[in-house]
């Protein structure tokens, strides 16, 4: 007997550069609204790339939505974003905030990227160097440990199941969702709070700027900076934010009459081993193809059933290589190739936050029957049009019922992660 459970998405919360809650984010991705801005501070500090995507969380929102200790005392943006997104998802799922009320089958996996470099790390470093580390107080450890964002979120929710953390560069978010999915799929958990977070600002972004991989040609036109798949893509635009999903077994969701956004039907994570073209910063193409194909196998679907690819597509010179990997993996005739988009043209690259925020975009597109636009795509890269028909890359909002979306993220360390989402049918 097949003991595998069906896994559904019953709640979502998001803090993104172009919308600091789920409703605002959905409106923004439909409208093609950019959340990228120019930050004069980065110019003063000699950053080549002076643009980025900082979510707009107001003091009022923090005070209204978070417990007073977190709203007033916790400083790391990555932690704040995760708590806001996590609470929104939990409330959206219709669950109660009642610590201890959920049994050991309700757990959490919240990934993070560079919490240790998140603002205001400078205040802490300066205290230590001034011989005054006693003033760090009690929060410097939990606010910078990789599990810190989840730990603060669980100080509110009080979950007692498996409470996990992952950190795997740009695949952190999709990997967190995949791991949460597998916990439920194979019966270890009934309900998982899954997502990821990344703070923002100069201390996180400086290292990327130093690698010369950020977009530095759009400081005077920031919303044009992030343009995945373009012939003029010149580097990614760094950003921050968090996305959190509530995943439940179909039985658990139905038992409490929960609304269902979409179903997760499969996925895979692997590494290219930093061989055969793979390096710390580039993907081994064979491993990407393998990851995509195995995702389809776990989902028990064929490539021709995919309606939309939500790519990683960071707005770098690597975008055409990613498209080639998709073409090689799916082996479809040009006219049967799925549509392709990525929210990165609007939100930049949220690094560890990317996978969860972008998977939320996928679930919104499935449940809402639309394909969000790729903005800034006036000139598609010729190495992409040589592989894929240009009409497969929507530049305007498309109203369309979708059945299957495949979502991928690829990360430093030659890491790959794919998720397969399906419109929910009983």
């Amino acid at each position: 007997m097949d003991k595998r459970r069906r896994v559904v998405i019953t709640g979502m919360g998001v803090v993104a550069p172009n919308g600091s809650n789920l409703e605002a984010f959905e409106e923004a991705i439909k409208a093609g609204k950019s959340g990228i801005a120019h930050y004069p501070e980065l110019a003063e500090l000699n950053f080549k790339s002076q643009i980025g995507g900082k979510p707009h969380v107001t003091e009022e929102e923090k005070q209204e939505k978070l417990p007073s200790f977190i709203a007033n005392k916790v400083k790391k943006n990555g932690v704040i974003f995760a708590c806001l997104a996590g609470l929104e998802a939990w409330n959206d799922a219709g669950l109660e905030i009642n610590p201890g009320a959920y049994n050991h089958k309700t757990g959490m996996i919240i990934g993070s990227g560079a919490l240790g470099l998140d603002t205001p790390i400078n205040e802490q470093i300066n205290m230590i160097d001034a011989g005054n580390h006693r003033r760090l107080g009690s929060r410097s450890v939990p606010e910078s440990m990789s599990s810190g964002a989840g730990a603060y979120l669980n100080s509110i929710l009080g979950l007692t199941g498996r409470v996990l953390t992952n950190s795997s560069a740009c695949i952190t978010g999709s990997e967190a969702i995949l791991q949460g999915y597998e916990q439920i799929r194979y019966g270890k958990m009934e309900r998982m709070v899954c997502g990821s977070t990344e703070g923002d600002g100069k201390y996180i972004w400086a290292g990327f700027d130093a690698m010369r991989i950020l977009c530095s040609d759009s400081n005077d036109n920031p919303t044009f900076g992030s343009r995945p798949m373009s012939s003029t893509s010149s580097g990614f635009v760094p950003s921050g934010g968090a996305g959190v999903m509530i995943l439940e077994s179909l039985e658990a969701a139905e038992a409490r009459g929960a609304k269902i956004y979409a179903e997760i039907i499969g996925g895979d994570v692997n590494s290219g081993g930093q061989q055969n073209g793979g390096t710390m910063t580039a993907q081994n193409p064979d491993a990407v193809v393998e990851c995509i194909r195995r995702s389809l196998e776990t989902a028990e679907i064929n490539a021709n059933q995919i309606d939309l690819i939500s790519g990683h597509l960071t707005s770098t010179k690597g975008d055409p290589f990613e498209i080639k990997n998709w073409v090689d993996a799916l082996e479809l005739p040009r006219d049967k190739f799925p549509l392709v988009n990525t929210p990165k043209s609007m939100i930049g690259h949220c690094v560890a936050g990317a996978g969860s925020i972008e998977t939320i975009a996928c679930a919104l597109q499935l449940s809402g029957g639309f394909v969000h636009p790729n903005i800034n795509l006036d000139e598609v890269h010729p190495d992409i049009t040589s592989l894929v028909n240009e009409e497969k890359l929507p530049k305007q909002l498309v109203k369309k019922e979708l059945d299957i979306i495949i979502k991928a993220n690829f990360g430093f360390g030659d890491l790959n992660c794919c998720l397969v989402l399906k419109r929910f049918n009983k």
Partner: protein, 83 residues
């Protein structure tokens, strides 16, 4: 600064560390920060730092364990203010 004025400032300092705002209506000098106000013991060091900043005083680690109630905290702050 008299004891009442110090108390007003102290209560402002500890307020963000109290999750259950119901308890704040019944705070007295006898209130125990951990047992009555349910403040996480890890946050006592934060409260001490906030007090140091507010009153421009230095509270050595040995005093932290004596700051168990609102009243005892006021005693220590008064003592330090008198230098």
């Amino acid at each position: 600064m008299n004891r009442e004025e110090i108390k007003v400032e102290l209560l402002k300092i500890i307020d963000p560390y109290i999750d259950e705002k119901e308890v704040t209506t019944s705070i007295s000098e006898q209130s125990d920060l951990i047992n009555d106000l349910n403040i996480n013991s890890a946050h006592l060091v934060d409260i001490v730092l906030d007090i140091e900043e507010k009153f421009d005083i230095m509270i050595e680690d040995d005093f932290i364990s004596k700051m168990d109630t609102v009243g005892n905290s006021l005693d220590i702050i008064e003592e330090k203010l008198q230098g």
